[in-house]
């Protein structure tokens, strides 16, 4: 029983990361109607920027020298992460405006091609600058041997709690933004009915960039949180992207709540299925795939998504 509880609690951390990236994918999907496969890499870029800002100039981290002229360098890890989140936001907006300018209008296949192009571009830049070996990111939350809560004999690490607080707070802020501001309202109008909202004067270009910006920030947060638990390496977010895509597919591409719940489900499947079947850990992605196919075959629109209704 304790082992079961421990596995559940271990899975919770990954759940927060997958949930955050899944929410990011869902938001950019709501903004443009197309999935952004480069989401994870944009976040990872932010993660490396945070690392470069928090590393002393003498260390062999590419980019550390670039930031060393700024006052206060090397930055505190939290400050570096926050600045990196902003940089990732700007990067995402810029990419949306330059490369994905007609993302919403072009054919789905062409939009996907371009987002794959973006995926390999950003990933090539990352792995040629910072690739080669995994790097220690530092700890955003106390994560020593004794930093855990005892839950009926199982360990709930502070990092897990912290990650969930960060993810839920940022998702809450996004929800608040969507429901309380004019921009958020027009964003929701755009996702609901593109044609009509353009007719009442909503500018889809700005909102598409806004959606990408928000999702870039969330992705950078996810990358930093994930790196602070383990290490920062150049394939970190691609792996996460697969799980997050599974999560957002489970939840339904339009639902933010669904994306978070999907993240939890995928992370639990990833720890529990290989754990109890005695499979090696690299098989955990198979577990995610099985859950994904099972859900898609029976509920192709996801657990929380809206069933598409075709007008005849």
């Amino acid at each position: 029983m304790t082992l079961f509880l421990q596995r559940i609690l271990d899975g919770l951390f990954n759940g927060s990361i997958y949930g955050a990236l899944a929410v990011a994918i869902a938001i950019s999907h709501r903004a443009t109607g197309r999935v952004n496969l480069a989401q994870g890499e944009i976040g990872l870029f932010g993660g490396y920027i945070a690392l470069a800002m928090a590393s002393p100039a003498a260390s062999f981290v590419a980019g550390a020298a670039l930031f060393s002229n700024l006052p206060g360098h090397p930055f505190n890890l939290w400050a570096a992460t926050m600045i990196a989140v902003m940089i990732a936001t700007i990067l995402a907006v810029a990419l949306q405006r330059v490369v994905m300018r007609d993302f919403g209008e072009s054919t789905p296949q062409r939009a996907l091609n371009r987002s794959i192009a973006l995926l390999i571009c950003v990933s090539a830049v990352i792995s040629s600058q910072w690739g080669g070996r995994a790097r220690v990111f530092g700890q955003l939350f106390p994560s020593g041997a004794d930093d855990y809560l005892n839950v009926a004999g199982a360990r709930l690490r502070y990092t897990t709690i912290g990650a969930w607080v960060v993810v839920l707070v940022s998702c809450g802020l996004v929800t608040l933004f969507m429901s309380k501001t004019k921009a958020g309202l027009s964003f929701r109008a755009l996702t609901d009915n593109r044609g009509s909202s353009v007719l009442v004067g909503i500018q889809p270009k700005k909102l598409m960039a806004l959606g990408w910006g928000i999702s870039g920030a969330l992705a950078a947060l996810a990358a930093s949180l994930s790196a602070s638990m383990s290490l920062l390496d150049s394939s970190l977010m691609f792996r996460t992207l697969i799980y997050a895509l599974a999560a957002v597919t489970l939840g339904g591409f339009d639902s933010l709540r669904g994306a978070v719940v999907g993240g939890i489900i995928v992370a639990q499947a990833q720890t529990l299925i290989p754990g109890y079947l005695g499979l090696p850990t690299e098989m955990s992605i198979v577990a995610a795939l099985i859950v994904l196919i099972a859900v898609l075959v029976f509920r192709p629109w996801g657990l929380f998504g809206q069933r598409p209704v075709e007008r005849v």
Partner: protein
């Protein structure tokens, strides 16, 4: 001034015959002019072209956005390694088995594709491409032993000239040149097979499903059978490509069949032209030779270095892909060929046949 011919006329046929003869002569001569190393690269290009044609069948003509075809190439390569090394198969006897196993795997993947469409299919196939290399590494059922696991596996002898090859004067110091002709023969067979497939009932059905699934079903296309067939054939071609790659390299390892291979195929297909036959060759040329050329690039920008030997070549692919989607949305062949043909060599549709007894009308 454009040359104008009528489709299917004897003039048109003669021109096509001359064109094919010239192309064949150039391809044969190329093997003797190019240095041995470059011939090896061209072999890889042919293998990628076959794989891209396979992908094109599903993605271009079938309209199903599948991104997991690196798994089929990997399967073909691993089956080849296993049959040649453990079961002492003859090299060329492997091909039916690798194609059949890839066909089976592809048909299996078609089953979710019957229900799952669009974006969801993309997600599933990406997951398959990512899962496949780790499946090749697992110890259960002795899979890792057969595939070589994480270390990869050497296929003892590469294909060397024997019998006829020796009689034609190929020596063992130039195996790539010998293989070139065998691979070229396969490429020609595959190209004509696909061309004929697309003009056949099955090919029309594949395109009909892409254009309007309901309409195709109403017109009597069996959707399930047709989709399974499309996926299977596409996977079988990738399996063939995997066999060629494995025999040509003499080594298989799961690192060679990761997701980036699937992306490379997609890049090649999109650059060449989705749903065009010639696009596969241009795409394969670009993905193989851009990588070769980028090896010589090394630019120091002060804050960062562009080193063409490393992951940098992927950046070039990405940039080319973005540029192509902006300026040549149908790919090089799809966008440029109609324009060039209009100016240089115009094929008019066949004139409708005259009624044979015009005299009665007058």
């Amino acid at each position: 001034m454009a040359i104008v011919v009528e489709r299917g006329s004897s003039k048109h046929r003669t021109h096509m015959m001359i064109l094919m003869a010239v192309a064949l002569a150039v391809l044969i001569l190329a093997a003797f002019i190019l240095p041995e190393y470059q011939v090896g690269r061209v072999n890889r290009m042919w293998a990628m072209a076959i794989a891209i044609m396979g992908l094109n069948l599903v993605l271009g003509y079938g309209g199903l956005f599948a991104l997991g075809h690196s798994a089929f190439i990997g399967l073909g390569a691993f089956v080849t390694a296993w049959l040649v090394q453990d079961l002492n198969f003859d090299y060329w006897m492997v091909i039916p088995f690798s194609m059949a196993s890839a066909f089976a795997f592809g048909s299996l993947l078609a089953l979710p594709a019957l229900r799952i469409k669009g974006l969801y299919l993309v997600v599933i196939t990406i997951a398959v491409a990512v899962v496949f290399p780790s499946l090749a590494k697992i110890e259960t059922f002795g899979i890792a032993e057969k595939t070589g696991g994480a270390n990869g596996r050497i296929i003892d002898e590469k294909v060397l000239p024997t019998g006829l090859g020796k009689a034609l004067g190929f020596t063992e110091t130039e195996p790539a040149r010998y293989r070139y002709f065998l691979i070229l023969a396969m490429v020609i067979v595959v190209t004509f097979a696909i061309r004929n497939l697309l003009n056949s009932r099955a090919g029309r059905a594949i395109i009909a499903i892409r254009d309007n699934e309901t309409g195709a079903a109403v017109s009597g296309v069996n959707l399930v059978r047709q989709k399974v067939f499309t996926f299977g054939t596409s996977a079988a071609l990738c399996g063939l490509s995997g066999t060629i790659l494995a025999l040509d390299k003499g080594f298989v390892a799961e690192q060679d069949f990761l997701f980036p291979l699937a992306v490379e195929m997609l890049v090649g297909l999109v650059i060449g032209g989705v749903a065009t036959l010639g696009g596969a060759f241009i795409g394969a040329f670009v993905i193989v030779f851009v990588k070769e050329f980028s090896k010589n690039i090394n630019i120091d920008f002060g804050i960062f270095v562009l080193d063409g030997k490393g992951p940098f070549s992927a950046l070039i692919f990405g940039v080319i892909l973005i540029i192509v989607t902006f300026f040549l949305p149908r790919g090089i062949v799809g966008s440029l060929k109609p324009k060039i043909m209009q100016k240089v060599y115009r094929i008019d549709p066949k004139a409708p046949p005259l009624p044979d007894d015009l005299s009665r009308l007058s």
